[in-house]
């Protein structure tokens, strides 16, 4: 009993250390965002700003169109998440339920495709989008994000579909439900947490993406937040640290909000699935 209590204390300590490790960069970012320039250059940095200021936020908004960039990012990330899920869900269902050679090959290809470096695909992609007249447009960027997110989304969803017992669908069929009815009324609700998690993944990866947005969007009014954030950086990594931290802090908020809104649904859904299986 004593050993078990000690082990549990150790587990909590490890968990706490891990949380601190994860939270440190974010907390430091917040602290930096509120520090005046002279405090940022102090030899003895403090956890909390000694003389907190909103100047960095003022300067960030004054120098760069952060709201417009955030709106562009939001459209791109939401569009990518919705479309990726719409495409990946039926594909994942087929791949999970019909384990043919083709499905296996497709799974293999999905894994391999994750290893492609950006630079390898960007030029052909650029040319394709140019021919489609989709360069310098947010919908064009959404298409790229969908294609980029699709393999991993598919991979995630295949796992979720496999977790839904096929016997439940068979039972529905025995009860007279058609294929579509079964999918809509039985499978889809059980898949909901997986779909939400996948959408969240696609949203966050599109929200944070920098290079495609940098290359594909030319008009300043269409640039996304990660691209605008680099405008606080000079040559050889010199940075306007205060405004950069302020803008970066603001840029993390939408991801946090989206996650906070749907995290209950993810965990709730997972538990529900566990009981049913």
């Amino acid at each position: 009993m004593r050993t078990s209590r000690r082990a549990r204390a150790g587990q909590y300590a490890a968990l706490l250390a891990y949380l601190v490790f994860l939270a440190f960069p974010f907390l430091w970012l917040i602290s930096t965002a509120f520090k005046p320039a002279r405090e940022l250059a102090s030899l003895h940095p403090t956890w909390l700003p000694q003389d907190p200021t909103l100047d960095n936020f003022r300067q960030a908004f004054d120098e760069q169109p952060l709201l417009r960039a955030a709106a562009n990012s939001l459209v791109a990330a939401l569009g990518a998440a919705v479309i990726a899920v719409l495409i990946a869900t039926p594909m994942a269902y087929v791949m999970a339920r019909h384990r043919t050679r083709l499905a296996k090959a497709a799974t293999g290809w999905v894994v391999v495709s994750q290893a492609f470096p950006f630079v390898l695909v960007i030029i052909p992609l650029f040319l394709v989008l140019k021919n489609l007249r989709l360069i310098d447009s947010v919908p064009g960027l959404i298409m790229v994000y969908v294609v980029w997110a699709l393999p991993f989304a598919l991979w995630m969803l295949v796992g979720y579909v496999r977790a839904v017992p096929a016997e439940m669908e068979e039972a529905a069929a025995v009860d007279g439900a058609g294929k579509v009815r079964t999918l809509v009324s039985i499978t889809a609700p059980l898949l909901a947490p997986g779909i939400v998690a996948t959408a969240l993944f696609a949203f966050i990866s599109a929200w944070n993406e920098f290079f495609f947005a940098l290359v594909l969007l030319k008009t300043p009014e269409k640039q996304t937040l990660p691209v605008v954030l680099t405008h606080f950086l000079g040559a050889e990594g010199v940075a306007d640290l205060g405004p950069l931290a302020a803008a970066a802090f603001l840029a993390t908020i939408p991801s946090l909000v989206v996650f906070a809104l749907i995290q209950k649904r993810i965990t709730g859904g997972m538990l529900a699935g566990a009981v049913k299986s």
Binding site: A41, L43, P45, I87, F126, L127, F210, G234, G237, V238
Partner: protein, 430 residues
Amino acid sequence: MRTGWLTGLVAGLLIVTGSGCSGDGSGSEDGRITLRFQSLAWQKESVDANKELVREWNAAHPDVEVEYVQGSWDSVHDQLLTSFEGGEAPDIIHDASDDLADFAYGGYLADLSGLLSQRLTSDIPERSWETTTFGDGVYGVPFLQEPRVLIANAEWLKESGVRIPTPEKPWSWDEFRRITDELSGGDGKYGVAWPLKEPVSATLNLSLSTGGQLFHRGADGKVRIRFEEGDEVVPRTIHDQVNTDGSASGSTLGSGGSDTLPGFFGGKYAMVPLGFSYRQQIVQQAPKGFDWQVLPAPAGADGLTQGVSPQTLSVAEDSPHKKEAAAFIDFLLRPDNMVRLARGDWMLPTGSEALRDPALRSEKDGWAVGTALAADLRSAPAQSVRGYPEWKDKVATPAFQEYYSGAIGLGELRRRLVKDGNLVLARYQR
């Protein structure tokens, strides 16, 4: 059925985007030309100056409108390469001269030789043009540059009683080593902090002062590396300051320039060798009452000579309006305008007339020391050497890092730079 909805989705997206598509950026349906100018200016004063100049140009040239596009130093090479390959590059391109070689040899940039005015061509000295000349063509206009200088804690230097160097009477490298030794207190205080996150360009550029060439082009046109006496002085000084004298902090060797500033402001280091434009950060961040000054980098057998890679303006080969683009560059780089750009970026202009401007000759914030160094700035040694980026990343950076930290000696450094380096360069020169 499945194919149906997918086709519908793609078609839908095409319809949605139909109205949002871009043209080629230079359409002239009404006879009006539009040029896209991608600027990498990032500091507020510099962005403001660029935008203001674009507005002035547009007001004076109703037939040739310039559209300002904010670029970013981060990933600019890949971004430009993709734009060139896709035929969507901006008409006027802001970059650094050490990034131009691949684009120039790749045929992406226009040869500006016959496009620039005599005024601009003669205003910028030949040594600056060398940084953008590749083969027989000129592929960019060098317009801003920054020497490496010593930013010093003025009070510390004054109290120590050491001789304060000037551009006319700089320290020699030996004197510099002796003085940093004299300045360090041994109680966590150092005479100098070298921020050498990027050790190669700093070492090579400063080594020009001691006659270090490292890259030697033979009669066959091929470049070979030789590490001679002139190449040894700067690396040996830094190595000895860190490892023998203890007058330079070893902990800053892996840091960038900005990372050393807190220690500098906190009184840990008497001097920090930094690019000239770092003065802006110092003005912004230094504690109240902190007294600092700009000193010239030490001089060697070749005086104060050092290598630089100036910022440049180029025209895309694909631009249908090269003449107009060159005219805009000419406007942007008129002496008065060059001064505005230089002040915005806290850098030195390349133009001789701009350099004479009283605003850049002021003692305040060290401008006068910088302008006095302008005549000694040369093209960075490795600028036009094909294969340099690979040599730098795979051979030179780790070799210099290990040498400066004391892990290897000068002999091993030489062996790696020369033997391993020539193997790399040979692959690019077959």
